[in-house]
Amino acid sequence: MKIKNTFVLREIAGNRVVLPMGAPSDAFSGMMTLNETGAFLWKLLEKEISMEDLVNAMLAEYNVDSMQAQKDVDEFLDTLRKAGVLEE
């Protein structure tokens, strides 16, 4: 799975903001902000990656157990799916 290339993550005034870059539109609509973990996972998802590798990366980066890491990844992917950002 990976992030569609029509979305980019930018830091603006201290906020990690996801911006759509696809079809022309009038404004920067349809945005979301990410926390630090979200941004970490987002960057990994800019290239094709498996669920397992995402969980392993979480375990390597953060002081969490595997259940918590799995749960965080699940929740984040769920958010991305609902926003139509993920390509699977």
């Binding site: 903001v17 009038d26 920067f28």
Partner: protein, 285 residues
């Protein structure tokens, strides 16, 4: 050569002479003898797109980007007959345009299409000069610029109309739809431009930008200051996203600068003098 001053930038625009343009630009004529920041020529030459097609908007407007610059071309018929052509170099120091007469097809007149095309060019041009266009109705009250921003239909013009009504001598409506904002060593300035949406209410004047006020309709009047995080989302909704990716970073850094230097308030308001006074008192104007 005809020179115009918009947002304290000198523009040379030649080869265009029609009633609509002359009327809308009359106030912006200048004798400022600085070297123009851009030279725009309306020519008879029916030039063709160069570079790669970036995207197509609304099914007919093609955007091109190449090593020498950018192009905006309105398709009349497939595959390569264009009724409007605009090309500008990467630094936006020169631009050429060609508008064909398509009155036989109905729709907007050549005059309006030329004017709108200049407006589109200006949105890119100002990004190269430490500025941006903010969708808002903007007033100058005494010497303070206040930009009232909100999605279309919220009542921006109605609200600024109230300011004009209650303070006729102290209020100038700089631009009712798309004022230009620029940053310099003194801070943030806001300026009128000839492109003001449907209303044609604008003035060739400017002021330091004291605040951005995001409007929401409400039965009661109240105002509160937004955090930078809250303001960011509101403001991004009111900034045109450039089609050309090269301009996206310029836009976002302009938005960032704007948010770090300008307080943003949320006004919940009805249509009354009290709504105006709520802002005036909060900003201590």
């Amino acid at each position: 050569m005809p020179l115009f001053k918009i947002a304290d930038l000198v523009l040379e625009i030649s080869g265009i002479d029609n009633e609509f343009f002359n009327k809308r630009f009359a106030e912006y004529r200048t004798r400022d003898n600085r070297e123009p920041s851009i030279k725009v020529i309306f020519a008879d030459e029916k030039f063709m797109p160069e570079g790669k097609l970036v995207t197509v908007a609304d099914g007919f407007r093609q955007y091109y980007s190449g090593p020498d610059g950018y192009g905006v071309f309105d398709l009349l018929k497939a595959p390569d007959e264009y009724c409007a052509r605009l090309a500008f170099d990467r630094e936006i120091k020169t631009a050429k345009a060609n508008i064909s007469d398509i009155s036989a097809y109905g729709g907007m007149t050549d005059e309006v299409r030329s004017f709108n095309m200049l407006g589109e060019l200006f949105r890119y041009f100002i990004l190269k000069h430490d500025g941006l266009v903010l969708h808002s109705s903007c007033i100058k009250y005494k010497n303070a610029g206040i930009a009232f921003s909100a999605p279309s239909g919220t009542g921006k013009s109605t609200h600024t109309g109230l300011w004009k009504r209650y303070f006729p001598n102290d209020v100038t409506i700089l631009n009712d739809d798309s004022p230009a904002i620029r940053f310099d060593e003194f801070g943030v300035g806001v300026f009128g431009t000839p492109w003001s949406g449907k209303t044609d209410i604008n003035a060739n004047d400017g002021a330091p930008l004291a605040a951005i006020v995001v409007l929401e309709q409400s039965p009661e009047n109240s105002i509160d200051k937004l955090s930078v995080d809250e303001a960011l989302f509101r403001i991004l909704q009111e900034v045109t996203r450039p089609v050309f990716p090269d301009f996206i970073n310029l836009t976002l850094s302009a938005v960032e600068k704007l948010l770090l230097h300008t307080p943003v308030y949320r006004l919940k308001c009805n249509i009354s003098e009290e709504a105006v006074l709520t802002v005036k008192n909060k900003l201590e104007l």
